[in-house]
């Protein structure tokens, strides 16, 4: 709690100090509150504060910081050997990036760090965007490199403590007409190190457990297409599709549909439906067949085949004030549900996962 207060205080001081001397570009201060709660006592609440501030006509910087409070039913509670307290952790994170934007080119370079009870994260990221064809086509490139570390876990000696990775993204966006735009994207993701969760295990007997074991390397690719289309002056349609494949032989399909409608000049209401389907990995077996002799042993349900859907509502509300200053308030509520799954049932005791995700943000544009 002390750390959390300190981070927010530092960011607020930083915001107020910088507000006094900068100019140009779109500048804003943002606050967002997000929460996730599921039917298995999983609860995550996130507070995040951010600022984008111009330093000169084409240069700006962005600073963000926040905290995730995470609680869950204790994984160790499944074992007679362990304590049955609930799992609780706070995750603190901050990022700082420099931005260059001359309307034809934009470039940003930044760093990120996070810290929680059992894990620390360090990342570098950069983005480059280029406008072409009279600003009808834009190319985007992004790269990030992570260098994370596991800390000590109670009652367990980790086989290794590193988790590193990099991700490269390419995208191309094209205006098709005054009311339609399309975007194609490609991501290449490489993860290395301790990729399994040290908290996942199977109880073979009341005194014997076998832990999750995964390969120390994973490479995945995602191909995506997005389209936004104005159906009439008050209504828009936002569609996206993603195909994912990795070298553990997981494949997935994701479809997201959103419809937005202006209710008044400053109110917009949106409805969304997301459908997701994935296969299992080549290492995944029926959970009842694991006996400890397997080289690799995925236990988290996310390595098994399942489907999920998400239904939700979005609200955008704008308050214009004098001198071009304005507030933008955005809120959403979504319901998430997976299909029935043996791994979920083994771990959580219910056949599927139900969750409610709430999000709210306030942008102050000055």
């Amino acid at each position: 709690m002390k750390k959390y207060t300190s981070i927010l205080c530092i960011l607020l001081l930083l915001c107020s100090a910088i507000l006094s001397y900068a100019e140009g570009l779109e500048e804003k201060v943002s606050y967002s509150l997000n929460s996730y709660r599921d039917n298995n006592e999983g609860f995550i609440i996130t507070n995040k504060l951010g600022i984008v501030k111009a330093i000169k006509e084409r240069f700006a910087f962005s600073a963000n910081g926040g905290v995730d409070s995470i609680s869950a039913a204790s994984p160790e509670a499944k074992s007679d050997n362990a304590e049955s307290e609930d799992y609780r952790s706070d995750r603190y994170y901050a990022s700082l990036s420099g931005i260059y934007d001359d309307r034809e080119n934009n470039f940003s370079l930044g760093g990120y760090m996070s810290d929680e009870n059992d894990y620390s994260g360090r990342s570098l990221f950069m983005n480059y965007g280029r406008q072409l064809n009279n600003q009808n086509t834009s190319l985007g490139m992004a790269f990030s490199r992570t260098q994370d570390k596991w800390k000590k876990i109670k009652n367990y000696t980790l086989p290794r403590d590193d988790r590193t990775g990099w991700q490269g993204d390419l995208s191309i966006s094209q205006f098709l007409s005054p009311t339609a735009q399309i975007q194609l994207g490609y991501s290449h993701i490489v993860s290395r190190g301790l990729l399994e969760s040290p908290y996942r295990f199977i109880e073979l007997t009341p005194t014997t457990i076998i832990r999750e074991a995964l390969p120390y390397s994973k490479k995945g690719q995602a191909y995506s297409v997005r389209m936004v289309k104005e159906l009439n002056s008050a209504t828009s349609l936002n569609l996206s599709y993603r195909y994912y494949i990795d070298d553990w032989e997981t494949t997935s399909h994701t479809i997201n549909t959103e419809v937005y409608r202006d209710l008044k000049d400053n109110y917009t209401l949106g409805a969304r439906l997301r459908l997701y389907s994935q296969s299992d990995t080549k290492y995944t077996q029926d959970i009842s067949t694991y006996d400890g002799t397997e080289k690799y042993r995925p236990i988290d349900y996310k390595y098994s085949a399942f489907d999920s859907y998400m239904l939700g509502f979005n609200l955008i509300y704008k308050i214009e004030t004098e001198k071009m200053k304005s507030y933008v308030i955005k809120g959403s509520l979504d319901y998430y549900r997976t299909s029935d799954n043996d791994f979920i049932e083994y771990w959580y005791g219910s056949k599927h996962l139900d969750a409610v995700i709430f999000s709210c943000s306030i942008d102050y544009l000055y």
Partner: protein
């Protein structure tokens, strides 16, 4: 891997070249895109959080719009 990247890069370049043959939308015709509902990502904070949560719950990654920092939950 390099081959795949080259193919993507070539496709992007081809699309960029072909796109010059498409109807050019003039700046004054882009008024509709000034509204949040016409963005590819009208709810950026929500999407960032949702991508983080879903990267814990689902095996898929990428294809998104925001940088995701490291987290032990994943």
């Amino acid at each position: 891997m390099i081959n795949r990247l080259l193919i993507i890069l070539l496709l992007s370049l081809m699309m960029t070249a072909c796109s010059s043959g498409l109807e050019i939308v003039k700046p004054y015709e882009k008024e509709a895109f000034s509204k949040d509902k016409m963005l590819f990502n009208p709810m950026p904070f929500k999407m960032e959080y949702e991508e983080h949560i879903l990267s814990i719950r689902e095996a898929s990654q990428g294809g998104g719009v925001s940088f995701q920092g490291g987290c032990g939950c994943k």
